[in-house]
Amino acid sequence: MSGILQLHGIEKRFGDFAALRGVSLELRAGEIHALMGENGAGKSTLIKVITGVHAATAGTMELEGRAIRPGSPREAERAGISTVYQEVNLLPNLSLAENITMGRQAMWGPFIRHGEGRRRARAALARLGVEVDVARPLGACPVAVQQMAAIARALEQRARVLILDEPTSSLDAREVAELFGVLRRLRDEGMGILFVSHFLDQIYALSDRITVLRDGGYVGTWEAAALPRLELVSHMIGKPVAAAEACAAKEEASAGPRRGAVVEVAELERKGVAGPFSFALEAGGATGLAGLLGSGRTEVARMLFGIDPATSGSVRVDGRVVSLTSPRAAMAAGFAFCSEDRKVEGILPSLSVRENIVLALQASRGALRRLPRAEQEALADTFIKALHIKTRGPETPMGALSGGNQQKCLLARWMAVQPRLLILDEPTRGIDIGAKGEIEALCAELRRGGLAILFISAELEEVVRNCSRVVVLRDRQQAEVLEGGAISLRQIMETVAAA
């Protein structure tokens, strides 16, 4: 096996902050190489150095033995490096087909052959097991389809090196399996694949070798088969195996005191979209929504938060019927919604971490009653500590944080309003294993304080672990409600899969 991409002593500074400190890495032809590290370890930064988004402050790169120094993603692509970035970076205004073929369209003289482009896009998506109308605008597609389109785009280009930064964060199990099949085939054809994920299962299922980064530094590279999980985690967090054990240990679902239902959902339906749904959310309880992609998980959340209001059915809070016709109305009823689509509905990259955290709280108070600065700072500090948000300070612009840390800020924003019901749509997407535990612990604490949580996740284990009740969805309808001891991975899977 030969090294196809070699990095020597890569350094990257943002101002006086060193995001990468002397990272060396060898990617071989015909291997899947996992890049691991906590949130903010420097994985995405390293990838962006390789693809020419950032210029390295020091260090050299070789592609197939020749020194390269791409000045832009365009040059990297030309050199044969194809990339899927962490945030889905595509064009919402153009069709799926165009997004996939953009810049490499089939031409007839100076003219684009749109028909051929659609055919190619359809084929590229079909390889991943996705069947959709490729003429649809990307922005109208679910996040998972967008992510698949980004992957299809990268695969469509016959590259020598394929880089995937958390490509599976919003895919469900079936889609992940499909993707992995394709990746293994490409590896066997001799492609070098660099893969980032926080899912340890996926890392072990897929990768041949693992490189770990910590705080921008290179920790080491191991054969995946020779690196026990606990050891991997201990390398990532930089603590001995015992600490890693505690970190990886599953959080027991510590149900808070039950105080009866706060929110009762009855026959809630949005005509032609999803429903009807009937379930109760208790103070101190966590209710999970489980189901395949497109089973209506997010639709339920959007109905409850008044983004896409229900057309029939009712919602009662403390016995009183509330009308959820807009997010404002939902917030007034004490609901908070942490969306899965953090790029569009979530973070404001140019505002500071503090401003991003207090945003929802400030909004709920109205424009005139400004939160005093001292209080804002105290809040920001509390959450930065509680969630271990890795930032240089509360005044750092949000855009300078790593993907996982942005996600934590978004959670903090909604936790700060101290809602009655917190709707979490994929809250742990892109979050490292340590922080996942912290977020789950924080949720448990909030529940002890009497908060009700609606928990949505594509990761069934997570649902099982955290929820005292699980509503299983199938085909945009409620299939079953499981409670207490009846909740098991197997039971959910069976219901989900039932025809």
């Binding site: 205004n93 165009e98 953009m102 684009i112």
Partner: protein, 322 residues
Amino acid sequence: MNRLFSSRLLPLLATALVLLVLFGAAGAHYEHFFSARVVLNLFKDRAFLGVIAIGMTFVILSGGIDLSVGSVMACSTVLLASLIMERGWPVPLAMAATLVLGAAFGGAQGWIIHRYGIPAFLVTLAGMFLARGTAFILSSRSLEIRHAFYAKNSAWGLPLGEGLTFTLGPMVFVSVLAVAMVVAHGTRFGRNVYAIGGSESSAALMGLPVGGTRIAVYALCGGGAALGGILSTLALGSGDPTRGMGLELDAIAAAVIGGTVLTGGRGWMVGTFLGVLILGTIKTILDFEGSLDPAWLRLASGGLLLGFILMQKVIAIRSRET
């Protein structure tokens, strides 16, 4: 059929409908409104606005704005007049030079916008003053163009019978429109313009040539403004430093009424064509009314513009829901 009525095309259909209703209502109300002469005049009067609006549409699609087009057009008319009348340049050469300078001016604005990341609004605002100032330096008064070429060509055109001709101005407008439609929809450059308007950072990460495309878009718009200037000298027989005051706003209005979204990435060349015709029809109606108070023209355009912006918003919200 369902596709046609999908929300994406709705603004375009609405624009076409408004044009039909306006025209139909005016035709029912005024005698002689439904005549080839009225339609031809409408085209002739609006030809240079049309060419400029098409350039503007490219800029808006790319997520930018160009406030300099009115001044660049004025400057082009004066430059052309003085090259022909004072320097004695052959007309085709003078026209070519004007076009090139217009495109270069636009391209330079595009370069500054891209290189220094300054908002297009500010750069082209400065460009607007610069071009207008230059026009006045070239000539403080209107310059008449008395030249055999002009005498021959200003009335030249395809004879349509009954003493009517499809003159050069409308001809250029329609050809520019046809080319623009093909470029916007069917070439890499055109699609890159939409891409940049959709998300500049994504376009860059997708390996698309953001800088080159942006500069080309502003060069195109500057060239369009110069072409508009040339057409206006053909129609009016003079170059005038005060011409085209506020024309940039008409061009923006035409694009927006035609369904192009000001934040970029969405819109159609055909829509801009319809938008230009709507503005022209309103003008014609006011001409027929006789009480030629230009205030009404502004009022009607403003009302329409507001209506269309609101409609776009509603459609945007609707399409999110489905």
